[in-house]
């Protein structure tokens, strides 16, 4: 794969124009060592290491680059959710139940104030039993930056109050509205990203590992090892998924903290999800192990472990990358679906799926549409992962 490509011998110019060629033989001697001169750019290209080639190719896939950027932002949020969210995810304000998103203003009476929101006139409409919020434009509440707000434990360890953005001292800041208990929707979406986006990653790492190990062993050794893993895979695949998930989630103790529950769910996902990948790895290996280079490596005394992971796996890396990035979104959707069905995460844990459970009913669609906003990050994350996978797959085969 590396080094200069093979070339034909040097050729004299062909007879020009409309002249009849007839039977023509060059009488120059054949030079088997001829190499055309490479331009520096060509040289750079042909001698570049693979990762560089992949990067060059990937860079040209615009959508994939944008998606990668978006995912970087999302994972930045995952890491710093506590600081980025203006409120703690369970901080309630019973004065602001079902408050619609507040508009963010910059100018108050013609004067630039920086981002701020107006206070509200709150009214209980006892006729239709609805809370009515109207802007009170008399007094602006400027949003504070790099400030002290709700207490939290950063990553469950360090206690802190620092927030990047906070409501004004005597005001509130609900740019995406609040839910039925008066909790800030924005903060909950930010915290929800943590669970929803990492379930996918941790799960994929686990199921990829299992898939490559088990599939690799089955494909390389064949025979009994293959037979047994194939039957196990068939058994696992024949389980109806939903009832299985239900049973497994019911088995998770209720006293587990949300984080542990989420971890349990991730493992459940991974334990069920490796089978498809294992099959793909196995079939690829079955064909690749018959290739000459595999035979050569084996004759040179390479041990199975080295042959598989050094020679065979890199040959279908592009396939692995593609299937990994394409199954992350299905993991995200899976978590969302399970929570939506009430089987996955439970309140007080916050994930996008848990948030969407609240958007399940008719009232939300008709009266409180902002509660459906968690759909937006779900769609964005899933699309981004798909495009990224697309770009990576194209890039992983740089010479195509």
């Amino acid at each position: 794969m590396n080094g200069a490509p093979m070339t034909q011998g040097s050729q004299p110019p062909l007879p020009a124009g409309d002249e009849d060629l007839g039977h023509w033989v060059s009488n120059e001697p054949f030079d088997a060592t001829y190499q055309p001169a490479l331009s520096p750019a060509q040289q750079r290209y042909y001698s570049a290491p693979q990762w560089k080639l992949i990067w060059w190719k990937f860079r040209r896939h615009r959508l994939a680059v944008v998606s990668a950027g978006l995912l970087a932002v999302l994972y930045f949020i995952v890491i710093f959710a506590e600081m980025l969210a203006p409120y703690a995810p369970d901080s309630r304000n019973s004065q602001y139940i079902y408050a619609p998103p507040q508009r963010i203003h910059l100018f108050h009476e013609g004067e630039f104030l920086g981002p701020f929101v107006y206070g509200d006139h709150r009214k209980l409409d006892m006729e239709v039993l609805r809370r009515i919020y109207t802007e009170n434009t008399a007094k602006p509440h400027p949003v504070r930056f790099f400030c002290q707000g709700d207490k939290y434990r950063f990553w469950g360890m360090v206690e802190a109050r620092f927030h990047v953005i906070c409501p004004a001292k005597d005001g509130v800041f609900y740019p995406l509205g609040t839910d039925r208990l008066g909790r800030d929707q924005l903060s909950r979406i930010l915290y929800g990203a943590r669970v929803s986006l990492t379930v996918g990653l941790v799960g994929i790492v686990l199921s990829m590992t299992l898939g490559i190990l088990i599939g690799g062993a089955a494909g390389y050794y064949g025979g009994w090892a293959d037979l047994i893993t194939q039957r196990i895979i068939e058994l696992l695949r024949s389980f109806p998924e939903l009832p299985l998930w239900m049973a497994l989630s019911a088995a998770l103790p209720a006293t587990w903290s949300p984080v542990t529950t989420f971890f349990g769910i991730t493992i459940i996902f991974a334990l069920l999800d490796w089978t498809g990948l294992a099959r793909a790895v196995r079939s690829k290996l079955l064909s690749l192990r018959e290739e000459d280079f595999a035979m050569a490596a084996s004759l040179m005394g390479g041990r199975p472990h080295r042959i598989i992971y050094r020679h065979l796996v890199p040959n279908f890396m592009s396939h692995l990358i593609a299937s990994a990035t394409l199954s992350i979104p299905s993991m995200i959707l899976g978590e969302t679906a399970l929570s939506f069905l009430g089987l996955g995460l439970r309140p007080p844990a916050v994930s996008w799926g848990v948030l969407l459970v609240e958007a399940q009913n008719l009232n939300v669609v008709a009266l409180y549409p902002w509660l459906m906003l968690p759909v937006v990050p779900v769609v964005l994350a899933v699309l981004a992962f798909n495009f990224l996978g697309d770009g990576l797959r194209d890039a992983a085969d740089p010479y195509h």
Partner: protein
């Protein structure tokens, strides 16, 4: 106005006459004054149906509609549309129709309905008087024979009733003596008082002690050729004749269009369907003072739809009257569409003692929790640690009543002291109680430690059906943190939920309070004592009582035993004043002991009523038993203005 409360009657024989219902009414309308129902007129002139005067009993139940509060004499006709969630919901027609031997009126007095009168002697001997000339919906006479049939050919038949008479007919394991006095009079007598008998007849899913003998004899082995029956049974896919009989005779389900009935509307749709049609019973026994036979409405249509779609379909005006499957959370949405869809949304009051209640499982399988829950200080502390007013504001717009699991103000047994027992939000007092119990050790997060050294984490089981429950629990979780107690929610399905409680696996559950939140002195106070296994606060004690010691354990908490003693004293006496006193004693003891932690009572239930519909009360009680939901509010008096 003479309204009797039936079970008050003590000792002396007193008759309840149908006249008790009538308010300054002239004697039963003579034949000439009756008006033929327009929708039946054609069949009458064709000779297929006798004229109205011959269809109604000689002494019908006459309702002076205008004398009832907010109601007016109506016009016959129209089709009432309702939405249901399952095809089994045809039984709701029997609930809403609410024609009972004796039934509750809207003030929850027990009055004769199908019966002309009942004589009660010491709650032991019940003499039932039928209306002369009363007919089944197929025109056959309804007589004492139908009661005899039930008792001798149904209950007395080992194949049909392998377990003997139903529970409400048994007193200390003994059934009644049944006598037919004449064609229109039957008598049931027990050796000891049976206060359950009449309430069972008046239930939403009542005890049927009569069956249409003339119809069912064609399905009974003693009256019909067994080989013919066997052929019919196998054709219907049933194992034997008894199974066939039981499948066609499900009066409370109202699912067999051929089974004659006494209800106001008769099912016309055969088999399962997503649309069920009911038409008026031409032989119904109630009339109004203007000479109309009731019900006013000709047809009722049930459309079956997914339960989650019912609020949406109601909002588009697809139902003329709807309460079932609507929850308080739907109110705002329904109210918004009020004008465009042409209906009114009314708020009725839920009739249970508490819409939401926490039930600590005194029979839990975990000894450390059992010990805590049995300490009254712990139950009181939990109760005082809840900010009920906040729950009321957040979930019910302040329309409910923060309350213990006592009785509603509508009940004659209401006492404000019981309603407010241990319900004041006072975290300091609650913490003091917990400290006094010696639960002073806490972990790093400030959570108190159990005797086992584990943090105090209460897992509350829910049946996973209502959003209100989860919301309330999230609020309570926040409140209890101030007591150093963590709360977790475990949602599951109804069967698993029941199983976990009975096995003691669940330490606490959230459910509603007592079904009957508006008891009168005559209603047995069984819900306030450990009497049945489906009482989630003490399932084992309840089962012990219900099975007479075969399963479960006897209550070993003196206060629970005391409740049971008081309950048995109540059963043992028929004296009104004594019963009243026993009732009050039980409610006070129960609420003072906080056996269940009531949260909110009297929660509003939205009722959607088409603007064309008349005679539906503005405000009323929405309750299952007693109440039968729409049942006691007389659906037969509802009519369409156009």
């Amino acid at each position: 106005m003479m309204l009797f409360r039936l079970p008050m009657i003590s000792g002396a024989l007193r008759a309840l006459s149908a006249g008790a219902l009538l308010l300054c009414v002239a004697l039963p309308a003579a034949a000439g004054e009756m008006q033929e129902t327009p929708s039946l007129a054609l069949e009458v002139t064709a000779g297929k149906l006798p004229p109205v005067a011959e269809r109604i009993p000689g002494d019908p139940l006459i309702t002076d509609v205008d004398a009832l509060k907010g109601r007016h004499t109506g016009k016959p006709g129209g089709t009432l549309r309702m939405l249901m969630a399952r095809s089994r919901d045809t039984r709701q027609m029997n609930v809403y129709g609410y024609a009972r031997l004796v039934g509750y009126d809207e003030h929850l007095n027990l009055v004769p309905d199908i019966l002309k009168s009942v004589d009660v002697d010491g709650e032991r001997v019940f003499t039932l008087h039928l209306r002369a000339g009363h007919r089944w919906s197929d025109g056959a006479p309804f007589t004492a024979e139908d009661f005899r049939w039930y008792w001798e050919d149904y209950v007395g038949n080992k194949d049909l009733s392998p377990y003997g008479p139903p529970r409400d007919l048994m007193v200390d394991g003994e059934g009644p003596t049944f006598e037919v006095l004449d064609d229109l009079t039957v008598r049931y007598s027990w050796k000891k008082p049976n206060p359950f008998f009449l309430p069972a007849l008046a239930g939403p899913a009542p005890l049927y002690i009569y069956q249409p003998a003339h119809y069912l004899r064609h399905f009974h082995a003693a009256y019909t050729d067994p080989s013919q029956l066997a052929a019919m049974a196998s054709a219907a896919g049933k194992r034997n004749w008894a199974q066939l009989y039981n499948s066609i005779d499900k009066a409370e389900y109202q699912d067999n269009p051929d089974l004659p009935t006494l209800q106001p509307w008769i099912l016309r749709t055969r088999g399962t369907s997503d649309r069920f049609l009911f038409t008026r019973n031409p032989y119904f026994h109630r009339i109004d003072t203007a000479g109309h036979q009731l019900p006013y409405i000709d047809k009722v249509v049930f459309t079956v739809s997914g339960p989650s779609l019912i609020a949406a379909r109601t909002a588009t005006g697809e139902a003329d009257l709807q309460g079932r499957y609507l929850s308080f959370g739907d109110y705002t949405f329904l109210k918004q569409k009020e004008k465009s869809s042409g209906y009114d949304v009314r708020l009725w009051r839920d009739g249970r003692s508490a819409e939401l209640a926490l039930l600590p499982n005194l029979n839990t399988a975990y000894p450390e929790w059992e010990e805590l829950f049995r300490d009254v200080r712990f139950r009181r502390a939990l109760s005082m640690g809840i900010d009920r007013e906040e729950i009321n504001q957040v979930i019910y717009f302040g329309l409910g009543i923060p309350s213990a699991d006592a009785v509603l103000p509508e009940s004659p047994l209401f006492d404000e002291k019981d309603q407010q027992a241990w319900t004041q939000f006072d975290p300091d007092a609650a913490n003091a109680l917990l400290d006094e119990m010696g639960l002073t050790k806490r972990d790093g997060d400030g959570i108190r430690l159990l005797s086992t050294g584990e943090p105090m984490q209460i897992v509350v089981d829910t049946a996973g059906e209502a959003q209100d429950q989860t919301d309330a629990l999230e609020l309570i979780a926040h409140d209890w943190l101030q007591l150093g107690i963590k709360l977790f929610i475990k949602p599951s399905q109804r069967e698993i939920f029941n199983g976990r409680i009975e096995s003691g696996e669940a330490i606490m559950s959230i459910w509603s309070g007592h079904e009957n939140g508006v008891p009168s002195v005559g209603n047995p106070p069984w819900e306030f004592a450990p009497t049945t296994a489906d009482q989630y606060q003490w399932p084992q004690w309840g089962q012990y009582f219900a099975t007479r010691g075969v399963a479960g354990f006897p209550p070993d908490l003196p206060e629970a035993q005391k409740l049971l003693d008081l309950y048995q004293q109540w059963i043992g006496t028929a004296d009104h004043d004594q019963r009243r006193q026993l009732w009050s004693q039980m409610i006070s003891l129960y609420t003072d002991q906080v056996f269940t932690i009531g949260l909110i009572s009297g929660a509003p239930q939205p009722i959607v009523v088409s603007r064309k519909l008349r005679n539906v009360p503005e405000e009323a009680l929405w309750n299952w038993d007693p109440g039968a939901h729409f049942g006691i509010h007389r659906l037969d008096l509802v009519w369409f203005a156009q």
